[in-house]
Amino acid sequence: MASQPLSGKESSYKASDLIAEDIDAYLVKHQHKSLLRFITCGSVDDGKSTLIGRLLYDSKMIFEDQLAALEADSKRVGTQGQEIDFALLVDGLAAEREQGITIDVAYRFFSTDNRKFIVADTPGHEQYTRNMVTGASTADLAVILIDARQGVLTQTRRHSYLVNLIGIRNVVLAINKMDLVNYDQAVFDRIVKDYRTFATEIGIKDFVPIPISGLKGDNITTRSRATPWYKGPVLLEHLETVPVDETRLQAGSFRMPVQWVNRPNLDFRGFAGLIATGIIKPGDAVRILPSGRTTKVARIVTMDGDLPQAVAGQSVTLTLTDEVDCSRGDVIATADSPPEVADQFESTIVWMADSEMLPGRPYWLKLGTQTVSANVQPPKYQLNVNTLEHVAAKTLGLNAIGVANLSTDKPIVFEPYTSSHDLGGFILIDKITNATVAAGMLHFALRRSQNVHWQAVDVTREAHAALKGQAPRVLWFTGLSGAGKSTIANLVEKKLHALGKHTFLLDGDNVRHGLNRDLGFTDADRVENIRRLGEVAKLMADAGLIVLTAFISPFRAERRMVREMLPKGEFVEIFVDTPLAEAERRDVKGLYKKARAGQLKNFTGINSPYEAPENPEIHIQTTTTPPEQAAEMIVDEILK
């Protein structure tokens, strides 16, 4: 029966008597509760669900109807005989997992007289890295569960590594199932000693070990009589009193990423955002990044009236004393210690998508309120989360963690992740599917980013083009191998040349003999191939040339990347459309035969995809248009 004390232990956490006696006093007290977000790390076998269920139960967050259902379920499918199976309160994700539903994190809520708690519960073994990183990203504290019978396992190391990677400073080592080792202090001490050695190695400076039994309720909400040798806090007591990160966040320099410019009328211009770090008061000198303009805070505006000061974690609207340019994506910071601005970084990347990372492909990078286009370089190494070894890697797959450099298409305002999660943590977004494919943490700006500046030149691209009497263009021929790209491109160049135009034809095969001789045909290499070709084509267009390129260029994303490098209208995508069957029938270079015979890996159309253009500027159907006529059409089109 639910009303019976559980397993003969002392009664559970007591709801405040104030509720019944003086509700007004209770409300005043509860309005001043603080909030602690924590994550529990451990697998099902460690008793994680039982522990969370126990916390919910003992803090009276379970209603009678839920309890009735729980009791019935416990008897029917529970693992605890006639006793309540707390795990059933929070499980229920298993069925969904079987259906293939992605569950990264489930959030649970409970509260005591002093605090409200949000627990991030990350189910399952698979996807563990992705799930744990997601859940940990908003946590102030981590409870790492260890089965007392097992001690420190590989997974304990993995959990601890991830907790530290995400920058959680408060770690509780909950040594669970003490009832199964007879509450033996020697067992507890040995595990703590083992863990300390390992924790120091990976950079966890401090942790609080607590001997518990989630099942029996030992040292969860009340001190257990079975562990008289344990003098530290019980779990809930620790959770209720551990300081949240406020002191550290408020001690940092003031930074607020601007989310929204509030302009209800001509007389009011406010900058809305959530303060990442520091404290701000009217009159404080601030600097707007990246522009660097300085001004002062005039007012801190809220619907409840102006504030005398605001601190990290608060959503506010600031007005400034001067009319300075400031918009979404800018950061308002303390004038005398502003954050850095850079466009090349070293970062740790946690890959979260089924499709692997393609170095060189541009992804959207969102950091704070800034969204920019970013290229990731091939990883310097991947981290084996079980052994913590550095492993060589060309790319990153689902749940892989690696260290890689990345560059953004324009400078961003940032801070190292260790100083600010808000200005150092980012996500990568696939430009085609819009999926969130990775999470990352910036380490530092690369020196070359700060020292290599754009050199202003006096003879501009316009001057180059004017001298040649032509408008620069990049005619980008794309299509399957053997579609007729090179043939048509050749004819077009001959015609343009005859008309006195300055042209240059970049041929895919030729370039692979020189500039790109180090690249193969994997997806990652194809992306880098096109990136380099795009850069070369751009330089030539800058020189005023009409550039013709004939590459398969199978991926939309890369073609779009080149399009975005160039001024609007200069990129002309020409789809040389030959059906696969026809190209294979022609098989001019005999490559299809080889691919079919399995001698060529990653051959476009056979065992590597071709993504046809959706809206090409020019569409040539080679089955109905002979090359000569196609070339005529293209010349007419670009010179019109």
Binding site: L27, F63, G313, T317
Partner: protein, 301 residues
């Protein structure tokens, strides 16, 4: 000495941040407004997020014509007070067929007026983001719901295709035709909502407070007789009971509880001492198996 933000201050800041992110990144957002207590808090938070400007989006009430009279009154008053445009949408097909909970049952009623009505309204106005007041503590299946929940062009929720949410970063990018439901109060509990209403003096429908009201009892639910939209069965006579509502849906579908809690603190007190969870008063949850999950996939939320 660091200032410690209270749990309500942190929740409020988080919700405001979410409202502003959507306003900055969406083309045409809308606030779904159902006039319940969660809607009241949502509206209040939206106003705070953009003060002194009014929120840069309209309110949308997907009306079933079966709301309590007091709800319609508060709705119109709040729209005026907030300076926001109020859009009321009633599914013309449901209206024409006279769909009601008595003759057609709660499942069809909800599907036609709410699920279908919402889809139609979103299509009609071309909204790409709809703010909803769902909370993760409401039931087990909600605990894992994202703050930004993606819907296909036909408004279906694809549980296999949702995005991880890290830090305070929300990915609001979507293809043409796709839409997002955003839940700014995901991390609030029922108690947080009540405490916040109390602290901020947020106007709510008086039906949340106990009063003598005419009622009948059907299938174990206490149903309030709001007006003659409720056809009485033979032999049924309304009885005056001291009742209030813990949750407000369509009035014949929402059961009242007997109560003497006439003030907010008393309501909160009762809620804390009571032992029945919030959704129990809603007939919708009892209908069909695992109904919340199903409704979500179909686009109810």
């Amino acid at each position: 000495m660091a200032t410690t933000l209270t749990h309500l201050e942190r929740l409020e800041s988080e919700s405001i941040h979410i409202f502003r992110e959507v306003a900055a990144e969406a083309d045409r957002p809308v606030l779904l407004y159902s006039v319940g207590k969660d809607s009241a808090v949502m509206l209040h938070l939206a106003r705070k997020a953009f003060y002194p400007a009014p929120p840069p989006f309209p309110l949308l009430h997907v009306d079933t014509t079966w709301k309590f009279r007091a709800m319609y009154e508060l709705r119109d008053r709040m729209a005026q007070e907030s300076g926001m445009e109020l859009l009321v949408y009633q599914n013309p097909e449901a209206k024409e067929k006279g769909i009601n909970p008595f003759d057609h049952g709660s499942a069809l009623h909800t599907d036609m007026w709410k699920t279908e009505g919402l889809k139609q309204a979103l299509n009609k106005y071309g909204f790409d983001v709809a703010f909803g007041g769902a909370r993760r503590d409401e039931e087990k299946s909600r605990a894992k719901e994202r703050v930004f929940s993606f819907r296909s062009a036909n408004h279906r929720w694809d549980p296999k295709n949702q995005r991880p949410e890290l830090w305070r970063l929300y990915n609001a990018r979507k293809a043409k035709g796709e839409s997002i439901r955003v839940f700014p109060i995901s991390n609030w509990t029922e108690l947080d909502i009540w405490q916040y209403i109390h602290l901020e003096n947020i106007p709510i429908v008086p039906l949340y407070f106990s009063a003598k009201r005419p009622t009948v009892v059907r299938d174990g639910l206490i149903i309030m007789v709001d007006d003659d939209r409720l056809p009485l069965k033979p032999g049924e006579t309304p009885v005056e009971r001291s009742i209030r509502f813990r949750t407000l849906g369509c009035y014949p579908l929402t059961g009242a509880v007997e109560s003497d809690a006439a003030t907010l603190p008393e309501v909160i007190q009762e809620m804390l001492l009571t032992t029945t969870s919030e959704r129990q008063g809603r007939a919708i949850d009892h209908d069909q198996a695992a109904s919340m999950e199903k409704k979500k996939q179909e686009g109810y939320f």
